[in-house]
């Protein structure tokens, strides 16, 4: 059995293992594709496509003075537009399907990094997601990228996916490199924004009446606002919160009508807006009833996701104050929306 007793095998094994692990770890720490330790390297072609894993690092290490938060309704924004129109250096930190808890988690990271220097938060609110459990996140968060425990960082620095897909692959092929102003951008190209594409993804909702009482939705919204959003608004009067409701296409309202939800949704907007406007450092922009946007399918790639052109328009509005709504104007705006949602000629849509 004793064929080679000089101990070189064990030494070789240990040296190779240590060298291999140190090399792999050093590559990951140096490039730091999830920005866990430092800001991005100037010359590396980063692929920025993993919101859950990358957002905490972006929040911690990027240079910015304002942030864009929200669901997939915020991924098509060009952050250079914020600089151009408002002189703000805006960091996009979207979470697809974001729940309020997702916003709370990333807000805590943002303020930990920037403190009182944060000038503005652009927050897209999807009413649909604001009645959920206050502790629910859309996707499980990656503990080692969100907590302050340095020991579980081994899951990051010795991680095959990180090493292969985010360090070596971009080195071998930089064609997927992300533009920093358009991170997380949707794969749709300009040619995909039309009714034909919308039709591909859309099936009218079943005509089943939503039996949930409006008060239950409102209670959920209040719980989420007061737990996950308002504490930050109150704690940071120096930050202006620019809240906007993403303009879904008219088909969203078609579904709402089929399920008897129009009044419930409008009641939610009414409650949320009044609640948020209790604070001086909050402003609300209302695009939901903008006929020019929501009735034109050339603005949409599916029944809710609008084009970069619409994003640009919204940024322009937020810069100029156009479509900003006050408490006094709210009833009128909601009345326009109600009329549009109920009276639109849905049969005219070629589905």
């Amino acid at each position: 059995m004793n064929r080679d007793n000089d101990g070189k095998f064990i030494v070789a094994f240990i040296v190779t293992s240590v060298l291999g692990l140190v090399l792999a770890g050093a590559l990951v720490v140096t490039v730091d594709p999830f920005f866990h330790y430092h800001a991005p390297l100037k010359s590396f072609p980063y692929v920025v496509d993993d919101q859950v894993d990358m957002n905490p690092g972006l929040a911690a290490h990027m240079d910015y003075d304002s942030v864009l938060l929200g669901s997939s309704m915020t991924v098509a924004f060009d952050t250079d537009r914020f600089a151009e129109k408002m002189g703000l250096k805006t960091q996009k930190l979207s979470y697809n399907g974001a729940y309020p808890k997702d916003q709370e988690i990333i807000l805590s990271k943002i303020y930990k990094a920037k403190g009182e220097s944060l000038k503005r938060v652009f927050l897209g609110i999807d009413e649909l997601n604001y009645s959920c459990d206050t502790e629910q996140t859309k996707f499980p968060i990656t503990d080692y990228l969100y907590d302050d425990n340095p020991f579980n960082d081994v899951k990051y620095i010795w991680n095959k996916t990180v090493l292969l897909d985010y360090v070596l692959r971009p080195l071998a092929d930089s064609s997927d490199k992300s533009d920093w102003n358009m991170i997380y951008k949707p794969w749709w190209q300009p040619m995909h924004y039309n009714l034909a594409n919308v039709r591909l993804y859309y099936t009218p909702a079943k005509e089943i009446k939503d039996e949930t009482p409006t008060d239950d939705y409102i209670a959920g919204i209040e719980a989420n606002l007061s737990t996950n959003i308002i504490p930050y608004i109150e704690a940071h009067p120096e930050t202006m919160y620019t809240v906007f409701y993403p303009p879904y296409s008219i088909l969203y309202w078609y579904d709402a009508k089929r399920q008897g939800q129009i009044d419930k949704i409008i009641a939610k907007y009414d409650y949320m807006t009044r609640r948020l406007l209790e604070y001086d450092n909050v402003e609300v922009y209302f695009f939901q009833n903008d006929r020019d946007i929501i009735c034109d399918f050339n603005n949409y790639a599916d029944y809710t996701h609008y084009s970069p052109k619409v994003c640009d328009y919204m940024v322009d509005c937020m810069a100029s104050g156009r479509r900003r709504v006050t408490v006094d104007e709210l009833d009128d705006e909601l009345a326009i929306l109600r009329e549009l949602a109920y009276d639109y000629d849905y049969d005219s849509i070629d589905l």
Binding site: A12, I14, T16, L19, G20, K160, L168, A172
Partner: protein, 486 residues
Amino acid sequence: MLFNSYIFIFLFLPVALAGYTLLKRTGTTPPKVWLIGMSLWFYGYFNIGYLTIMVCSILFNYLVYLWMKAAGEGKMKPALVIGVTGNVLLLVYYKHFDFLTECVNAVFKTDIPLKDILLPLGISFFTFQQIGFLADTYRGDVTDCTFIDYALFVSFFPQLIAGPIADYGSMMPQYAKIGPDTGFDRDRFRRGIAIFIAGLASKVLIADTFGKSVDYAYASAGYINSPEALLAILFYALQLYFDFNGYCNMAIGLGALFGIDIPVNFDSPYKSRNIIDFWRSWHITLNKFLTRNVYIPLGGSRKGEFRTYVNLMIVFLISGIWHGAGFNFIIWGLMHGVLYVTVRLLRDKTAIKCDKALFHILTFIFICIAWVFFRAKDTSEALTLLGRVVHGGLSRLGDGFLKGFNSGEFWYVLKVLHLTGSEAGRYIVMILYTVVSLAVVFFAPNALKVTGKMRYRTFYGVVLGIIFVWCVLSLSGVSTFLYFNF
């Protein structure tokens, strides 16, 4: 704690080894107490509640053992009966309570609520091991056993969670030798490293890759097409093989690092030409346990042909029930029992030896089909998946089914080489994995033989170091061992 986790490899194992090596110089008891303490940490890491159950089980069985010794030869039966009953009840409660409740509710139209009891990991293994110990005591095979030795015998972490089901005779003499007189055995240590890494690679690099396709197929059993269903059946056979092989090798490797020989539990089972040979090489220690403690006490082959076959069927029925709660496990056990008895009959009554290549192929196909009942969450799911083989229709394999193969390092290499653009390119890695795995399963010597003959030179140290690094980098999506649930 899992063997294939960062905390085990980089914290637990080095601490356990260092403490054990240092304490071994001081006497016989301290290193054993250290190993027991580390084993309790290892077990409690899964769920602290489990620890209480295991500790109570150890105390109960040791008290029964003391009672048997005090009663003396010929008067041990009451204690044995109580001991075995206590263990079986514990196992039935934690593992089968809900299943039995469902059966009662179905038969008597009652509505007894289910308890959703969380199964303590490894309970089937440490319960059976302790039943075996009491039975050995009854047979007079156990001479003397201190509580420390007994606690170590049951809790020793390399074999605690998924076996092997060690017996007193194979382990206790080794524990007795622990102390200053047994120096560092470099031969055994480096073999331990090699076997552990072979096991880690088997689990992390092979089993888990097949597992992704299998999980996909079973999660959508009602919708997959025929090729996916057929491949899922094959892939689960390979996943389970490399998973259990991986665990068994890691257990043996870990034992070797501590100077302990863990019994062999897995010996290239798919090379078996018939089901009898299969059960001599798959889960060897369970088979031995059932032979010693069920088959022989039932009369074995001593009470005539018919009783022999009935006894064999009982053994396989118990094996099925031991593996899981549900009719699917009973069906799996009985399927194996029926084939086992059939092969015995053929061998005993005809000139057919069942050892030709045709039998090899048929046995493997049978085992693969039986595994469907083993893997499915219930009989209905198993039948659904088998039904999809016939009724699923012919179409291309879905991206979800191929994802496990097409997101790893080999796929990455092919992509960089621009070999993945075509339709055929989607299948390259899956085909390579499958062909190589089947070749290993059917033709290659197993890791124990390879590491037994290996010359431990610098080159192999480097090779194993590279494989180790590869495995560590693959740990980020840690998965449990399939046999942990049994």
